[in-house]
């Protein structure tokens, strides 16, 4: 496959553009998509770049189809992906469920917009529940929540490896701000950097003659017996839990002596990071914890931070009305640290908002 980035270098791009370049650099072979703001430019850049590198694209009739065509393409053994947002993410929960049930290495980039319903086309963190636990399944998905263009680039590349290595559908959860804003990043070829890219392989359409050296592949998605389904789901759950420790990622700053812990994810963690600096400058011992993987969640690491800091309070800040908060609480069940929250559904959060909130609860 032709190298996309010959030499690592700085670039000044929108997040959507960074995502398209990263998918190319990761060796994605085909994208299926349907227009929805704020992810459109991922398709726009992909459709301009893909033909130059022999990669494919299909604009499908809707997001349901975009998700299912990705399911088909990965079953045929190609690195395929899609990108969506908001109501499109709602529709894609159906194919995402199939990917969960059949352990398909589907990759999807989600650029969250305001909700519920059509909401706004701008920004939110209101697709956390949907992306982590959507569909009629058990949340056997891997979800990276990015906070910068560098991370969009890094984690889109990583998502393809994660998906093909573990065979759980993998999501890069961005948002409208990250999609549309421009900021600098470094783009590179992952293999030049020493990353080993996991090779895709077909689940159907295998080589060889059936009956003479190979058996037909019958891929199942519906079971006649409840016990059969139980066995499958329990097996997946065990496998998911087994890989979770090596998949989990998080970031932690100033937690050792923190009196108050600030929790945020995605783009809001930038404001949380700045808020901690501002509070420290004012003599308030604040610390910062940010899960990068929302699924699996770094629950053990968060408990350790709570224990080692001896913090008296915890603040959860998010651009949603408690979706991240619920995720955190279920992971640290039994901890007694009082939890406060700053819920700003569908609007941006800046350091000033967090600093004020912290001061009001101390």
């Amino acid at each position: 496959m032709q190298k996309v980035i010959e030499k690592a270098g700085k670039a000044f791009l929108t997040g959507n553009e960074a995502a398209a370049w990263a998918a190319l650099a990761a060796g994605a072979e085909i994208m299926f998509g349907y227009p929805i703001t704020p992810q459109n430019e991922i398709m726009h850049y992909w459709t301009r770049l893909a033909p130059k590198y022999g990669r494919g694209f299909l604009q499908t009739e809707d997001e349901i189809s975009a998700g299912f065509t990705v399911c088909g393409a990965v079953q045929a053994g190609k690195k395929a992906f899609t990108a969506t947002a908001g109501p499109g993410n709602t529709l894609m929960q159906e194919p995402f469920s199939m990917a969960e049930a059949m352990r398909l290495p589907l990759v999807a980039i989600i650029q969250q917009r305001g909700g519920p319903s059509s909401g706004t086309v701008i920004y939110s963190q209101q697709e956390v529940t949907l992306t982590t636990f959507g569909g009629n399944g058990e949340g056997h998905r891997i979800v990276y929540s990015t906070a910068s263009h560098q991370e969009i680039y890094d984690y889109v590349i990583k998502a393809f490896n994660t998906a093909w290595k573990y065979r759980f559908p993998t999501f890069v959860l961005g948002d409208g701000y990250q999609a549309k804003m421009r900021e600098p990043l470094v783009m590179y070829d992952p293999e030049e950097k020493g990353m080993e890219m996991v090779k895709p392989y077909p689940l159907v359409g295998l080589e060889g003659k059936i009956g003479e050296g190979r058996e037909p592949q019958h891929l199942c998605n519906i079971y006649s017996m409840e016990e059969e389904l139980y066995e499958v789901v329990m097996k997946f759950a065990a496998e998911y839990e087994a890989i979770a420790p090596e998949v989990v990622e998080y970031e932690e700053k100033n937690c050792d002596d923190a009196e108050i812990l600030i929790l945020a994810h995605g783009v809001v963690s930038r404001a949380a990071d700045d808020a901690v600096k501002a509070l420290r400058a004012q003599g308030i011992k604040a610390g910062y914890f940010r899960p990068i993987t929302l699924r699996p969640f770094p629950g053990r690491q968060l408990r350790e931070v709570i224990a080692k800091s001896g913090a008296k309070k915890m603040l959860i800040a998010e651009s949603a009305y408690g979706q991240f908060d619920r995720l955190v609480k279920q992971e640290i069940y039994g901890e007694t640290i009082p939890i406060y929250n700053l819920f700003m559904p569908g609007v941006g959060i800046i350091d000033y908002d967090i600093v004020n909130k912290v001061k009001s609860i101390l």
Partner: protein
Amino acid sequence: MGLIKIALAGEGGQGVQSIAEILAEAAYEEQKQAIYIPNFGVEQRGGVSIAFLQVSEERIGAPKFNKADVVIALSKRAVPRTARYSDENTIFVYDSSFTPEEEELPKEAKKIIGLPALDTASRELHPRVFNMIIMGAVIGFTGIVSLGSAKYALEKKLGAKFEKDPKLRELNHKALEIGWNMAQEALKEEVAK
């Protein structure tokens, strides 16, 4: 240079997004950190368009801000849409081709300036380079980039057009300089008071 926050607003087609994008590009060329984010609604062209631009020597946190160092409103209805980004440290600028409603102007501002950008462009240059005067003025008010870097970024965006019509380059550069001078004069007036 610390963090500088700029909000630019105008009617679709007035070029506020282009100004912000070129300035962000220029800052990036100067090895500064820059974040530009368009405020996008469901409209493609109609309605007020706002661009949020932040430039700093250090890593920038949140992509949006609630108070700007400079707010520029290029149309009458952009004034009430942007007044909220002004506080006692903000220079609030509007184009003097219209008269803003008194009650729509920000309650708090370091200074409110009516800039004759459109008028000057129409009289001395060409109405099309109105937004270059504005870009020059933004640089004049904030010093986020040098005029040279702005010209370089402009070249990257419009170089092909300039090659075909070198007069266009001259016109744009002149507009930039006029805008820069306007801002300098406006700031001096403040000192004089």
